[in-house]
């Protein structure tokens, strides 16, 4: 990893923290403290690519683990991870990595539609795929009920996918950083 990459990784970890603390953008329909951090997951993946984006969000999770209050509402520490919603936090780096991977593959014909696809898969579906079973295990709740309960996240996540994709497309035009990968 080059020095520039180190700075970028730290930058996006910090953007995650800021998104949790100060609602930089207000989302309609979503309770404020819950908001923007998954947006950070999407931005890291779609602006930095798989490796750096995943590392940036992994670094953020590390900040949570070592006891810094970087989750919304000043939460942090190991208790959050072992709690019912901890799986979502652990899924963040995987989500960013998947967003990045898809973005790298589709970089040459990247547009708003592609961005929406990448962010919806990596920034929402992947998080559900890890976070919901985790919740089901920790809470002893049947998986089907955990899935039903998570429907409340859908409207907010849809809005975040749109905002993240708009920003990703604009940043790609002004400041492209992703190294494209040729499709296999």
């Amino acid at each position: 990893m080059r020095t520039k990459d180190i700075a970028l990784v730290a930058l996006f970890a910090a953007i995650m923290v800021v998104l949790g603390f100060f609602p930089l953008i207000e989302l309609p329909l979503v309770p404020a403290p819950f908001t923007s951090q998954t947006l950070g997951v999407m931005l890291a993946g779609s602006i930095l690519g798989a490796r750096r984006g995943g590392l940036a969000i992994l670094l953020f999770v590390l900040l949570v683990l070592v006891g810094l209050p970087v989750l919304p509402g000043g939460r942090g520490g190991l208790g959050v991870i072992l709690g019912p919603t901890g799986g979502f936090v652990l899924a963040y780096p995987v989500g960013a990595f998947v967003v990045g991977l898809l973005t790298e593959r589709l970089w040459r014909r990247y547009n708003l539609g592609v961005a929406l696809l990448c962010n919806a898969i990596g920034g929402a579906l992947v998080l559900y795929a890890i976070g919901i079973p985790w919740m089901s295990v920790v809470s002893g709740m049947p998986l089907a009920d955990a899935i039903t309960g998570s429907v409340v996240f859908l409207p907010g996540d849809a809005i975040k996918v749109v905002i993240g994709s708009l920003a990703a497309v604009a940043v790609r035009r002004a400041y492209p950083l992703v190294e494209p990968r040729v499709e296999a």
Partner: protein, 206 residues
């Protein structure tokens, strides 16, 4: 930024971070195999009793645990409806015991000790190209970036207000581009100090 660490001189504080984390992960696995209400009650009581030993004030412990409570209550309620009382109590006890124990580790372990434990845990991955000694630098850089991003956000907002733009999507992009430029500049500055040569950058006072 404040850490969640609560300073005191107790045997719990004195335990090495790695040992506390191992206990936590052991308990995290072990508690899932305890399927009796009294058994989990004993575990929960033991965790609660560790708090006075670690001289963690109840108010501090409460502030840490409070965010998890509404969600836990919701889950317990769901269990009562979906299964039976016994399962609901078991699940509630288990979540509380785990969360309180994890919080206790966080409250009694310095952030720097945690980072050192993480670096130690990553050391076996060195052959895969992982550089554990960079973890501390990355954490420090991240914490340094937080006020910088806020400042940039204020600037962008002020500039937009002056032009009468108030859309949030129009706010995120300039903020990202501004901070990306800053990160680039920082990377160059680190390189100029010979960082890439594999040495730690020259320490100066902040």
């Amino acid at each position: 930024m404040l850490s969640l660490y609560h300073d005191a001189d107790t045997p719990v504080h004195a335990l090495p971070a790695g040992a506390k984390l191992l206990v936590l992960f052991g308990a995290g696995t072990g508690l899932f195999f305890v399927r009796s209400i009294p058994g989990l009650a004993v575990a929960l009581a033991a965790v609660v009793l560790c708090h006075p030993v670690a001289r963690v004030p109840w108010r501090t412990a409460w502030r840490q645990a409070r965010p998890v409570l509404p969600f836990t209550a919701l889950i317990v309620a769901a269990q009562v409806v979906l299964t039976d009382w016994a399962t609901a109590v078991l699940v509630g006890e288990r979540i509380l015991a785990l969360v309180l124990l994890a919080n206790l580790v966080t409250l009694t372990t310095r952030t720097s000790a945690m980072i050192a434990a993480v670096e130690a845990a990553l050391r076996p991955l060195r052959p895969l190209g992982v550089r554990p000694e960079r973890v501390g630098l990355l954490v420090a850089l991240t914490i340094r970036f937080i006020p910088v991003i806020r400042e940039q956000a204020e600037q962008v907002r002020a500039a937009q207000r002056a032009r009468g733009v108030e859309r949030s999507s129009a706010f995120l992009t300039p903020l990202l581009i501004k901070t990306l430029r800053l990160a680039d500049g920082l990377g160059e500055a680190l390189d100029a100090r010979g960082f890439e040569a594999g040495e730690r950058p020259h320490r100066t006072s902040r």
